[in-house]
């Protein structure tokens, strides 16, 4: 379990930094609220209605493409760890794996699915 200490340390440090920064700011900042200051956007238009609105169906494809590449990343993880011992053969296999998914990326791109509109 020793190597997990690093993970724990990482989590602790990761918590200390933001909590510390926000905490210090909270302690030393002057607190004189007024209604205009408390607005969400001090120099913008006030939001109207709920922020939970119906999305365009097209955005769904972003999530889907993300999912596919996420799974790819998971599969490449053991590959990357073992690469040194596996040799050239595994490098080629991994590259084939990536190439096949690059074909998917080219397809998605060319179909215009990556445009935010």
């Amino acid at each position: 379990m020793n190597e997990w200490l690093y993970v724990l340390l990482f989590i602790v440090v990761g918590l200390i930094i933001p909590v510390g920064a926000i905490g210090v700011a909270w302690i030393i900042s002057p607190k004189k609220p007024n209604p205009i200051k408390s607005e969400t956007y001090e120099c913008g238009i006030e939001t109207v209605g709920d922020s939970w609105v119906q999305f365009k169906a097209q955005y769904y494809i972003f999530a889907l493409v993300f999912l596919v590449f996420d799974v790819e990343a998971v599969f490449l993880f053991p590959w990357a760890v073992k690469l040194g011992q596996l040799g050239l053969y595994a490098v080629i296999e991994g590259i084939i794996f990536i190439l096949i998914l690059v074909a998917g990326l080219v397809y998605t791109w060319r179909k215009g699915m990556l445009e935010w509109a």
Partner: protein, 480 residues
């Protein structure tokens, strides 16, 4: 990866690369010229088919025993590739006419064929599962391909949900089998099973896998999706789905059960007997009341799944099994040609928005288009199992094998349900020739060619069926 590994999957690798490249190439083909994609896809299938034929006689396993190459896989792969070609030929004019023409149709079809071929060569339950997914996912998409039609969308979602459910059964069964034997390799399973390890778990696992494949090949009681999906999907997709998914499903069923679970024969034979009988009875009886030709053919496809399942019933009986499986393969061939032909005629009469699909719309066809009506008559006779067609020969071999295995009762059910089926198949023939009507058909060269070709094969091969049966027998020879 050694050269042997590569050899084992050579046709499949070629087709995979072809499909991936076609996916990209298609992006640069102008929208109104997607016919080029169809031709390229067909060319890929033809090249793969020639490499498959070159593999005849080769036998080895590859990729650490994950896949095998043997006579059986070569036979089934060739049949799958022919269905792919027929599927593209049927779709060529149809998708253009229906406004569905998009390059992805053909690429997805190729990927589905890749999945089916992998299924036929799988020697490990993990590969069976992945191949099942690879063949199914393109089919789900193809079923929903007509996005302007609510029926097609419904067909897609229904097929997807029930298909995912079926895959779940296969995965769960695989997990239980792995739990019982500690391996997913088909050869390993039988080795472990003969050592007498906990067999209840193994039996449950095998039964769950059977349920999953039952869904795929549309056997009763797992057939509920079939009529709606077959009716809703674009007709050219239905034709390919009915043939391809059945071939791959039965190939995997056979491979898994013959290789991995021969020890369970005593438990599973009765189940298979009942499945086969119920499927034949229900498929044929419900088909009688259908007025829509797509629905009728859907129930007919269920019924034929029952006939093919017959071939599995003597499974475990080492003497009968080779004949019976060869008969099953022969029946599959006859079903594939008849099926594509019948759907080809349906496509010729179909109009946009699902018009022209009632059996009544076939009235007068015999007078106005004698050739088309004659072809349809041939297919209907073949589906019943009357001479001079492949259907008769297929049923003859099947019933003979089943009777030789001692299951005369099942053969009687088969004969009786075939008689019942004559009622609804002949109704189409009677409508075509005896009733008056003014049907209009689409004349598309590819479609005409496909219908004529399948009709000729159905008749001519039935006159000299021995060589095909010999081919099928040789294919299964090494399996046992």
């Amino acid at each position: 990866m050694t050269q042997l590994d590569f050899q084992t999957l050579l046709p499949l690798t070629i087709l995979t690369v072809w499909a991936c490249v076609l996916l990209i190439v298609d992006l640069f083909i102008p929208k109104n010229r997607k016919g080029i994609t169809a031709v390229l896809a067909a060319l890929g299938l033809a090249v793969t088919l020639s490499f498959t034929i070159l593999q005849i006689g080769r036998e080895n396993s590859g990729y650490s025993g994950m896949v095998v190459l043997d006579g059986f896989s070569t036979f089934v792969n060739a049949l799958i590739l022919v269905s792919g070609l027929l599927g593209i030929a049927l779709a060529y004019g149809y998708v253009k006419r229906m406004g569905l023409e998009r390059g992805e149709y053909y690429t997805l079809l190729l990927f589905s064929v890749v999945g089916m071929m992998l299924m036929a060569q799988a020697a490990d339950l993990i590969v069976v599962f992945i191949a099942l997914e690879l063949l199914s996912i393109p089919l789900y998409v193809l079923a929903a391909f007509s996005r302007t039609s609510a029926e097609s969308e419904e067909a897609g979602i229904k097929y997807f949900l029930l298909g995912a459910f079926a895959t779940g059964f296969v995965v769960y069964g695989t997990a239980l089998v792995f739990g019982a034997t500690g391996t997913t390799s088909l050869v390993g399973i039988v080795g472990s099973a003969s050592n007498g390890t906990s067999s209840l778990l193994l039996t449950i696992g095998a039964a769950l896998i059977l349920v999953g494949f039952g869904f795929k090949v549309a056997a009763v009681p797992f057939h509920m999706w079939t009529p709606d999906v077959y009716q809703g999907a674009p007709t050219s997709v239905t034709a390919f789905m009915a043939a391809g998914a059945k071939i791959a499903g039965f190939a995997a069923l056979l491979r898994v059960f013959a290789t991995a679970f021969p020890t369970l024969a005593t438990d599973l034979t009765d189940i298979l007997w009942a499945l086969s009988a119920v499927t034949m009875i229900l498929g044929n009886v419900v088909a009688i009341s259908q007025t829509n030709i797509k629905r009728m053919l859907a129930y007919s496809s269920i019924a034929h799944a029952g006939y093919i399942l017959m071939a599995f019933v003597p499974y475990g009986n080492k003497d009968i099994m080779p004949i019976s499986i060869a008969a099953g393969l022969f029946y599959l061939v006859s079903y594939v040609f008849t099926n594509f032909g019948a759907w080809g005629v349906v496509i010729a009469l179909e109009k946009s928005e699902g018009k022209g699909l009632e059996i009544g719309d076939y009235a007068g066809l015999g007078r106005k288009y004698p050739a088309l009506a004659a072809a349809m008559t041939v297919f209907m006779l073949s589906l019943i199992g009357l001479p001079p067609t492949l259907g008769l020969v297929g049923k003859f071999y099947l019933f003979r094998a089943v009777i030789a295995g001692g299951y005369t009762g099942l053969a009687i059910i088969g004969v009786v349900t075939s008689l019942v089926s004559a009622y609804y198949y002949l109704r189409v023939v009677v409508t075509m020739y005896m009733k008056d009507g003014e049907p209009t058909t689409e004349r598309e060269p590819m479609l005409d060619f496909t219908t004529a070709f399948t009709a000729i094969v159905t008749v001519v091969v039935s006159l000299v069926p021995q060589w095909l049966f010999l081919l099928a027998s040789n294919a299964v020879l090494k399996l046992f």
